[in-house]
Amino acid sequence: MFRDRTNLYISYRRTYPHNTGQFNGNSQLDTTNPNNRFDLLGEEEEAHGLIDSSYHDEAAENGDAIEMKPLPPKFADISSEIEFLLAEIEKEVTRLNYLYKKNLLPGFNDTTEDDEKIDQMNFVITSSFQKVYNKIKNIDSIKLQYQDVLRPEDNLICDNLKKNLAAKTQDLSKKFRKLQNNYIKYLKQDDFQAPQKQNVMDEWDDSDAVNIESYSKQAMQQSSALLQEQEQTEGINDQLIQRREKEIYKIAQGVVEISTIFKELETMVIDQGTILDRIDYNLENVVVDLKQSNKELLKGQKHQKRSTKCKLILLLTLVTLTLAVIVLMKPRRTDHYYHDTPEPSKDTTPAEEPAPVEVDEPTTKN
């Protein structure tokens, strides 16, 4: 049960005189409260700064400078791109499913054409997954690129976007892998050499096989072994078997590839059912995070200031040192000529004095 109060609200809004504006929000200032007005003005100007900067986009893209970019739309682009890709994959997967079903039915037709299609579709889907994965990973690098411009909010949006897309991709890849494994299973099941193969399988004792691709890997190894076997023994040169084994190999390879993507994505998605999935917990943590990041920023600033100071000091000391060396070298030469006179000591002291004057020069240049 709910109640819509929009109409009431709008009628209230109409009854109040608003100096609604010509072009921008500046006219909306509440003139009755001077304090408020200036507050607002400040904020408005700030907002303008952001909007204006968006006009410099092209300049930024040309690499002239890293300007303030309106980030959310950019991420929105990536997001819609990925969502589009995912939708495409989903379509392909359903088509593939249809083909598989058709192939599963017993028939006398030659399935070579279909097999080729399946091959092709598998390839397309796998590469699409790869693309999606790369795009998702790319979000991070974009984030890094615009590190200086991104506000904490933008960072948060990016992270959330990534999590959501990762979860969606995972769901879809799960579906796809299920489909593929079912098909492999079908291909294997009518394998008349199955009992023989069983033994081969037992020999591979993969201790950490608790993962998704283990079956496909085994299938791959098996098929390649079988293929080799066939090449060696000329007697069995059944083309059909060979083709099917190749097929299994290919599909299994695809599954393994996608499984790797799946595992990589695993680190990005939220563990559902844990505290990390709680809204209020995240809200609190954001506040803490923001505070911490602020502190770190300040620290970083201090460090940076300090490091520039350090550099300056280093430079100055270097300059003084070299000057001192030069000054020291000169009198030595004169030493040879006026060996017995006490003059040199007098020579050195005035020579050292101008040094600080020279030292000042680089600082002013800086």
Partner: protein
């Protein structure tokens, strides 16, 4: 009347609009929404930024639409007026969690010069949904003095209870316990408010049998919150504390990995928990054992080369993502149960609980007294102070009118044992709050000292666990409901209020004998998880009746004793 579904439908309403958006919450609504939705669910609806209205350091993001889910209070309206004066987002959709006074809307409209607001809606979700039939208002200091409301808390309770009834689309007949001024005040004010809300209520479906809201006072059954419960959810709350469906295990001696320190216990997101939250400790152990075995079976197969079995393989591939979830879930519950077990042994709860039950159920003064004295002074079992005080409280309530009452002696034993005086005060406060003269004296049958045996009430078809000596006591609520459902609660003790609108809508006929369908039970002074369990059992057995229960808060023994102690 499934509260979880109600809550989820509201969340859906908030986030359905397409496009990337910001969700603004406030302190109150953020905890409400956390109970019915999750971060990933919101992400799925393209809510990529969640923030609080109170957060002043929010940046301007003019490209994004903003959806607000806010509570109705002076504070949030002020903040919102400020926000609309200097908008940070592209547009605003406002969802309030209760009825918004027109004056608030006017203030917002006055400030909304830029016409930023597209939508204003009232969703009635001003309460916490804990289980599918348990709600809470999370209020602790509702008392001004004994049996008198703190005015501010009263208004909050009134508003929340109103939102609850609206969200369930009910215009209920209100019944309350006649001996409680708090109940009667709440009931009459609520009834008046309902009479004024005809505009909202006229859209509600009209049932043949009108729904009933029963308002009870905790003081009429102080026994239930004092006893140590032995079912999963209740035990976790009693021994570890559940706050907003999360448990914090910080400071427990067992070294848990960091991701198992703060746990979420939400039956709608955790199938194992949903299955076992009402199980008693013994059944729970069995249940977790089979759960672990299931997991073992699944993983061991995939660990070895048994992978060759294609059917297994297929199953594994399909359920692989579930595996990580499953192992997380198992370690969560294992951690909890281990912790419970540790607490039970540490506090000698087996012994304590046996005595508790005996005091609560049997009328055997001398034996109970002996046993009580033994436990209080025992060197063998070192029992914590609060447990000792609790036992004496039970004794005081149970044998208040017994001619041979030895309460002064017990109190002096407590002092001797080094229990601080202010803690001992709880016993006297308890008697003041809920002594025999304070409790509703309806009939002897409805006494709070009920035993499970010969207590096969109509409506509770399953027999109670008579053989379980730790669960002999049956909360008073069970009797009250079994009468209420048959509409046989005496009006002398449970007056009936029918609001003006309901009277106008239809002639309320004589309902005697009719079986009630929709019932809302509300405990002033706090409900317990045990009572929620009873309601759940009742709903399971009686398909035609749907009951939800809630209270100003959900008590465990400690929170109840603190509440009583703080009474002036």
């Amino acid at each position: 009347m499934d509260l979880v579904k109600v809550g989820q439908s509201y969340v859906d309403k908030i986030v359905t609009d397409t496009g990337i958006k910001v969700l603004l919450l406030d302190d109150i609504t953020s905890s409400i929404i956390s109970l019915v939705s999750t971060q990933s669910e919101l992400l799925n609806h393209q809510v990529y930024l969640i923030d609080k209205l109170e957060n002043e350091n929010r940046d301007t993001i003019k490209q994004l639409d903003c959806v607000c889910f806010l509570s109705v209070s002076e504070k949030t309206i002020n903040l919102l007026v400020e926000e609309l004066g200097a908008p940070k987002y592209k547009s605003y959709k406002l969802y309030f969690n209760n009825v918004v006074p027109n004056s608030f809307l006017e203030r917002l409209a006055e400030r909304d010069d830029l016409e930023m607001v597209d939508k204003v809606m009232e969703l009635f979700l001003d309460y916490d949904i804990l289980n599918k039939n348990l709600f809470s208002f999370k209020q602790l200091n509702i008392f001004n003095s004994i049996d008198a409301w703190n005015q501010q808390q009263f208004l909050l309770t009134l508003a929340s209870l109103k939102s609850l009834c609206f969200s369930l689309q009910t215009n209920p007949i209100i019944r309350y316990e006649s001996n409680s001024r708090m109940c009667s005040k709440l009931a009459s004010d609520l009834s008046y408010e309902f009479g004024q809300s005809s505009k909202i209520m006229e859209k509600f479906p009209v049932n043949d049998i009108p729904p009933v809201l029963l308002i009870l006072d905790r003081k009429n059954d102080p026994i239930t919150p004092l006893l140590n419960p032995w079912t999963y959810q209740s035990m976790v709350h009693e021994l570890l504390g559940i706050f907003n469906n999360t448990v914090d295990l910080t400071g427990t001696p067992s070294d848990l990995p960091p991701d198992l320190i703060k746990l979420v216990l939400n039956p709608s997101q955790d199938p194992f928990y949903a299955q076992s939250l009402y199980l008693n400790f013994g059944d729970l152990s069995d249940s977790i054992k089979t759960y672990v075995n299931e997991y073992k079976e699944k993983t061991v197969k995939h660990n070895s080369n048994e992978l060759t079995d294609l059917n297994d393989m297929k199953h594994f591939l399909e359920s692989f993502p579930e595996f990580k979830k499953l192992s997380n879930n198992i370690s969560k519950h294992m951690g909890l149960i281990t912790e419970l077990d540790r607490k039970i042994n540490e506090n000698h709860l087996w012994q304590v609980s046996e005595l508790e039950q005996s005091i609560a159920v049997n009328d055997n003064h001398n034996a109970d007294l002996q046993e009580l004295e033994k436990l209080l002074t025992s060197q063998e079992f070192k029992i914590a102070n609060n447990l000792k005080v609790k036992l004496v409280c039970l004794y005081a309530i149970r044998y208040e009118l017994h001619p041979n009452n030895q309460l002064p002696k017990m109190l002096s034993i407590l002092l001797q044992q080094g229990v601080p005086e202010f803690e001992i005060n709880t016993v006297n406060r308890m008697l003041k709050y809920s002594g025999s003269t304070k409790r509703l004296n309806d009939d002897s049958e409805s006494s709070i000292f009920n035993q499970a045996t010969n207590n096969l009430l109509q409506g509770f078809k399953q027999s109670h666990e008579n053989d379980n000596i730790y669960m002999q006591h049956i909360p008073r609520l069970e009797r009250v409901i079994s009468k209420l459902v048959k509409n046989k609660l005496p009006t002398a003790h449970y007056p009936t209020l029918i609001n003006d609108f309901l009277k106008k809508q239809r002639p309320v006929s004589d309902l005697n004998g009719a079986r009630l369908q929709d019932i809302i039970i509300f405990f002033v002074g706090g409900v317990t998880y045990e009572e929620a369990r009873i309601i759940n059992n009742f709903n399971l057995v009686n398909k035609s009746t749907r009951i939800v229960i809630g209270g100003t808060t959900v008590h465990n023994t400690n929170s109840f004793m603190t509440q009583v102690l703080e009474l002036e």
